[in-house]
């Protein structure tokens, strides 16, 4: 039994880790460095992540590049929930890790996106250089290679229960349907 599981794991993880498709989700400064990572000189395609997707339904990786404010939070949660499993999150930049420069004095910045969605890799710095984003992707790939299909199931179940219980975002006040595509 174990032999079968581990060999399936190996193949799955190998393919997942080497073809992480990120979502184009650039909110501020770090987004520009993310673009620089895609562009010449740094070329993210070397690590199989060059396919930036406009739709969350086709993406595996959410690189949250930039400050998230209270107004943006419901949209971020909605995007995360629209992504198919397995999905991974890199919190890029100090703002997404813990509020960064805006943590103490700003009234509208969320102090870390881990209050809204689960985060796999934290990447501080303001903004991180393209090299460090590449490093974060390498680290994420390393984590993915350790996964097993049996454990990931537990992992995601825990995440979803966390979200609905503690976040409080899904109340009427934060009615995510307000951001609907079609109105009328």
């Amino acid at each position: 039994m174990n032999v079968i599981v581990t060999s399936i794991d190996y193949i799955l993880n190998w393919s997942r880790a080497n073809s992480l498709w990120p979502l184009t989700f650039a909110t501020s400064c770090c987004g520009i460095e993310m673009m620089q990572t895609v562009a010449s000189n740094n070329d993210i395609a070397r690590f199989g992540s060059e396919v930036f997707r406009g739709s969350p339904r086709q993406a595996d990786l959410l690189i949250c590049a930039g400050t998230i404010t209270h107004k943006m939070a419901p949209a971020l949660l909605r995007l995360y929930e629209q992504m198919p499993e397995p999905k991974y999150v890199i919190a890029m930049g100090a703002c997404t890790c813990g509020g960064g420069m805006f943590a103490d004095t700003s009234y509208s910045v969320i102090k870390g996106i881990d209050k809204i969605i689960p985060v796999d890799i934290y990447l501080p710095m303001c903004p991180p250089k393209p090299e460090s984003l590449l490093d974060a992707i390498r680290k994420l790939q390393k984590e993915i290679r350790k996964e097993s299909i049996l454990e990931r199931k537990k992992f995601t179940n825990k995440h979803t229960s966390n979200l609905t219980e503690s976040c409080g975002l899904l109340t009427d006040e934060f009615n995510v349907t307000k951001l609907g595509v079609l109105e009328n």
């Binding site: 673009m35 562009a39 010449s40 951001l179 079609l182």
Partner: protein
């Protein structure tokens, strides 16, 4: 025909961040557009009231991360003018050189991103390759790629070095700009998508408070650099084009890159003759501005940027307000997208060079 409300953004690859446009459509024609902003509102103005001037200085770069130098310059200039600090020739030349390099970097990014909006991917790679040269130089002298925090009250943080890098950049760039022009300017697809689209006439531009390149592409000769004290003794011609459409705004930006190269050459000459860095830095500890109101302006890549500070003699400003160019460009979308087709919406809004942190502050 039935009407349809379409939500464009806040997560959309071509909205340059987090702009949300609520469009009302009749078929493919846009009958009304309402920009919804604030998805990146970080409360910069309120933060100024809680921090002292030197604590606020590093934050200022984040207002426009593509042209951070301009906003540091504004804050530094306000303090210098209020306290009567004079800048030496070398400091002025350093600032002019860095501001113009930053303007080039910003315009290069715009060319890449705009063409990507229109569906052309390769100009993005070319433009970013050249932009990287400038960022590498910024990193060398300031230690940071985008949030430089290099200007301080009364001068610059340390003297500038490796000017041969700048010479290298301005030697390389004209050829590269020629390449872009060969690739883009007369490209039939590009021309069809931009010529005659998003026409912005003079009166509308004034009425909507549009400044900068967008205004000059409508045939108005208004460049705030002409009267700027930093640019004294520098000879340049503001780029003015009659055309008023998206294509002219593209052309004006390309020409402005050339003009900036010209300014940098003159600044380098000043740097060669003035070898000694003389500056009298203001002690940032216990720094207070005399009671009163201060307004300073500068020509940023995206239009007129200005700062307003009301001081009551305390350590932090009583009220600080930023005026940014993009904020008014977003407001213009209400007018300019009316009657356009949906597939032109991205092209037109892209051509105005909107950047969201500047809008939301």
């Amino acid at each position: 025909m039935s009407k349809l409300k379409l939500n464009l953004g806040p997560q959309h690859p071509s909205t340059h961040g987090v702009l949300r446009l609520i469009l009302e459509l009749e078929g493919e024609k846009i009958i009304s557009c309402e920009p919804d902003i604030g998805y990146l509102h970080r409360g910069m103005e309120k933060m100024a009231e809680k921090l002292s001037y030197i604590q606020y200085l590093p934050l200022v770069d984040r207002i426009d991360y593509l042209a951070g130098f301009f906003y540091s310059e504004l804050l530094c200039r306000t303090v210098e003018k209020a306290l009567g600090v004079e800048l030496s020739k070398r400091v002025k030349a350093i600032r002019v050189m860095l501001l113009e390099l930053n303007r080039i970097a910003s315009h290069l990014l715009w060319i890449g991103a705009f063409l990507m909006d229109l569906g052309a991917v390769s100009p993005f790679f070319y433009a970013f390759r050249e932009r990287e040269l400038i960022l590498k130089y910024f990193e060398k002298i300031t230690g940071q790629r985008m949030m430089n925090n290099y200007f301080v009250f009364g001068g610059v943080r340390r003297d500038i070095f490796s000017l041969e890098d700048v010479e290298n950049i301005i030697n390389i760039l004209p050829d590269k700009v020629k390449d872009y022009e060969a690739l883009i300017t007369e490209n039939p697809i590009f021309v069809r998508r931009t010529k005659g689209k998003g026409v912005l006439d003079k009166e509308t531009a004034f009425n909507f408070g549009i400044t900068g390149v967008n205004l000059r592409a409508s045939g108005v000769n208004l460049d705030f650099r002409v009267k700027d004290y930093l640019y004294e003794g520098i000879d340049f011609n503001p780029v003015v084009i009659d055309g008023a459409d998206s294509w002219s705004r593209y052309k004006a930006r390309v020409l402005e890159i050339k003009e900036s190269i010209n300014i940098i050459k003159q600044a380098l000459k000043v740097l060669e003759s003035e070898k000694e860095l003389e500056q009298k830095l203001v002690n940032p500890l216990n720094l207070t501005l005399p009671e009163g109101e201060y307004i300073q302006e500068i020509e940023a890549p995206r239009g007129l940027a200005s700062i307003y500070i009301k001081s009551t003699g305390e350590k932090s400003p009583y009220r600080l307000k930023w005026r940014t160019g993009s904020y008014y460009s977003v407001n213009l979308l209400r007018k300019i997208l009316k009657g356009a087709y949906l597939n032109d919406a991205i092209a037109i809004s892209g051509s105005l060079d909107i950047i969201l942190p500047e809008v939301d502050k």
